[in-house]
């Protein structure tokens, strides 16, 4: 099953189980079912609870927050994550802030879904991975879809926080198969612990390097790990958190302490990255075991060109990760 279908199924399950869940977004109703078809079938099955909206990214996040404030649960799809910039105020100054600024906890169960990433040739304003800009808003949690995490579990987790969450979903990941039963492929296995997916070739040996990456990077990280193992005899473990922020590092600290090299890879441009935040959390904890600073891999400090041969130059490739590990 592809990740897109899996997520679609999770939404179906969620809406079926809880009549208070509402979904808003541009072009999300049937027969169109959303630009990436993630909401397919929802409007047919759940009617009014699934609404195609005008082009009003700020507005629909506000409406979602209003529904959530009043007792519903709301999911808002932003057609391209790039346009979440239009909802920045609603997220920063209303939805996240209102959970705490009235002197007590106010429940605002709101999920904003953002398809992200390049590699589809959509060009500079439709290919970004804007995760980093949303880090560190008090009251806002950030999640990212992965091939390993169960989408329904993630969504359930998010609603359970009773606070706004953004779910980032890599657009190429949509087209990839989900991994289940601990199996990734002929070489790699995985397990889920404490919200993290741990992906490994051989589970017993302490790895030479741990790669930490959000779900959208999984394909490229695995490709890099395969080459590193086969061509360089370097064993890596990949750690993929379901929740990017706030990040809980405790469950993986032992593993991280067993490796001298830690590398964080992400899409999104250089500067002020998620990796820098991960490093902030890990450097104090790993200061004595690290052989050098945590290595940060990100997209280039650049717009993302439309033409594939130019896009390739600025977007993280398997090889970018491989080189960072070898450096």
């Amino acid at each position: 099953m592809r990740v897109a279908e899996h997520l679609n199924e999770a939404l179906h399950t969620l809406l079926a189980a809880d009549p208070s869940v509402h979904v808003l977004g541009e072009d999300i109703t049937d027969p169109y079912g959303g630009a990436f078809k993630i909401t397919k079938g929802l409007s047919t099955r759940f009617g009014d609870r699934v609404v195609s909206t005008p082009l009003s990214e700020g507005g629909i996040v506000g409406v979602g927050a209003g529904l959530a404030l009043a007792g519903d649960r709301a999911i808002v799809e932003i057609m391209f994550g790039d346009f979440a910039a239009l909802a920045f105020d609603q997220l920063l100054n209303f939805a996240s802030k209102s959970t705490a600024m009235y002197g007590r906890q106010v429940p605002i169960p709101l999920i904003v879904r953002c398809p992200t990433g390049g590699r589809r040739g959509y060009g500079p304003t439709h290919s970004q991975s804007p995760q980093k800009h949303f880090i560190g808003m008090p009251g806002l949690a950030l999640y990212e879809l992965s091939p390993f995490h169960d989408a329904h579990a993630l969504l359930t987790d998010m609603f359970a926080r009773q606070a706004p969450c953004v779910l980032f979903e890599d657009k190429v990941l949509y087209t990839r198969r989900i991994c289940r039963d601990g199996v990734v492929d002929d070489l790699f296995r995985f397990e889920l612990t404490g919200g993290w997916a741990r992906v490994y070739a051989d589970g017993d040996l302490p790895p030479d390097c741990v790669i930490i990456a959000p779900g959208g990077l999984a394909d490229r990280a695995l490709e890099a790990m395969r080459e590193l193992l086969i061509e360089h005899e370097i064993t890596c473990v990949l750690l993929v958190p379901g929740r990017l922020y706030p990040l809980e590092v405790a469950p993986v600290l032992d593993l991280l302490r067993s490796a001298g090299t830690v590398c964080v890879a992400e899409d999104g441009t250089a500067g002020g990255t998620w990796g820098a935040e991960v490093a902030r959390l890990l450097h104090p904890a790993l200061w004595d075991t690290l052989s050098g600073p945590i290595r940060l891999v990100s997209g280039a400090d650049s717009v993302i060109p439309t033409a594939p041969h130019l896009e390739r130059e600025v977007i993280v490739q398997a090889d970018t990760i491989r080189k960072a590990v070898l450096a």
Binding site: V51, T53, P54, S56, G58, G59, I60, V61, G62, V63, G64, A65, G66, L67, A68, L69, A70, G71, D72, A74, D89, Q90, N93, F94, S98, T99, A100, M101, Y102, G103, R104, Q105, V106
Partner: protein, 308 residues
């Protein structure tokens, strides 16, 4: 001039004690705040609704306890007209025990029962649409009411909200307190066209009231609210008012002529002249009451807050 004044006086319909009392309470509350500021006993900022007190009193009379109210920076009147809790509001503004939001929100960020204010202009309109949609489903006949100023029509969020509200038939009441100014900028250089035109653009019902008479305002708005409730649709109620005081504190750059004009439209001397006995009685009551509120709250210990 005297003739005109007399005419205006004659115009006022008899006012209920409860209404006049509330208008006066708000007036004295706001005055107390400015005094506390002058004396250095208040910190931060505050936006008083001096001259506009009758609007929330009139509107609140049309609201149901289950209606949800969104307020803005100039929200003390909106709150005091609806809730009999001046102590809790003052405590919030002063960061004292018994504060509505433990002193975290302060003057501009209040959440109490079905009343929520926030300090970013325009931001609450889409939120109000969401709340209205929920009310439509779970409590038909109830509405979400959002107070905004004329200047707030500069924000794009207002239009996104009106469009959605009309498309989805959200029972939303937008109360526009049109005081012809935004902070220091006259509305004429901020707003092209009219509020009526903006509402019409979306097919949203609109009614403008020019009166200061609470009963008149209420009577004129009642049918509008009735339609919002029964037809489940957004409506815009625009009320012409005059801001008597500064935008926040000590930042009034209007000419003395402009200030005089604003003062001429104040409901306060008009009600005083029209209903001298009733007015004197209630004014003395409320003056003393607010004084006691201030004295009470001033000596309270600081508010406590458990950070999440």
């Amino acid at each position: 001039m005297i003739g005109a004044t007399e005419e205006r006086v004659r115009d006022l319909t008899p006012v209920a004690d409860a209404d006049l009392e509330r208008m006066l309470r708000i007036r004295y509350f706001e005055r107390a705040l400015l005094r506390l500021f002058e004396r250095g006993q208040l910190n931060g900022t505050t936006h008083t609704c001096l001259g506009q007190e009758h609007v929330p009193v009139a509107v609140t009379g049309l609201l149901d306890p289950e209606d949800f109210v969104f307020s803005n920076h100039r929200g003390h009147g909106h709150f005091l007209a609806r809730y009999d809790e001046p102590h809790a509001l003052l405590a919030e503004i002063m960061g004292r025990e018994g504060a509505l939001c433990n002193g975290v929100g302060g003057s501009q960020h209040i959440f109490h029962e079905r009343f929520l204010s926030t300090g970013v202009q325009g931001e609450s309109l889409p939120v109000a649409v969401g709340v209205a949609l929920r009310l439509k489903r779970t409590a038909p006949g109830r509405l979400a009411c959002a107070y905004i100023g004329d200047g707030t029509w500069g924000e794009g969020s207002v239009y996104e909200a009106l469009n959605m509200a009309q498309l989805w038939r959200a029972p939303l009441l937008v109360v526009v307190e049109h005081n012809r100014i935004a902070q220091s900028t006259p509305t004429t250089v901020q707003m092209a066209g009219t509020v009526a035109g903006r509402a019409a653009a979306f097919g949203v019902l609109h009614h403008r009231v020019d009166a200061v008479d609470v009963n008149v305002i209420r009577a004129e708005l009642a049918p509008l609210l009735a339609r919002a409730r029964s037809e489940s649709r957004p409506v815009v109620a625009e009320i012409a008012v005059h801001r008597l005081g500064p935008h926040s504190k000590g930042d009034d750059t209007r000419t003395s002529e402009e200030l005089r004009e604003a003062a001429e439209h104040d409901w306060h001397p008009r009600y005083a002249a029209a209903f001298p006995e009733q007015f004197a009685r209630l004014e003395e009551e409320q003056r003393a009451f607010v004084e006691r509120v201030v004295d009470d709250v001033m000596i309270r210990p600081l508010s406590a807050w458990e950070r999440p």
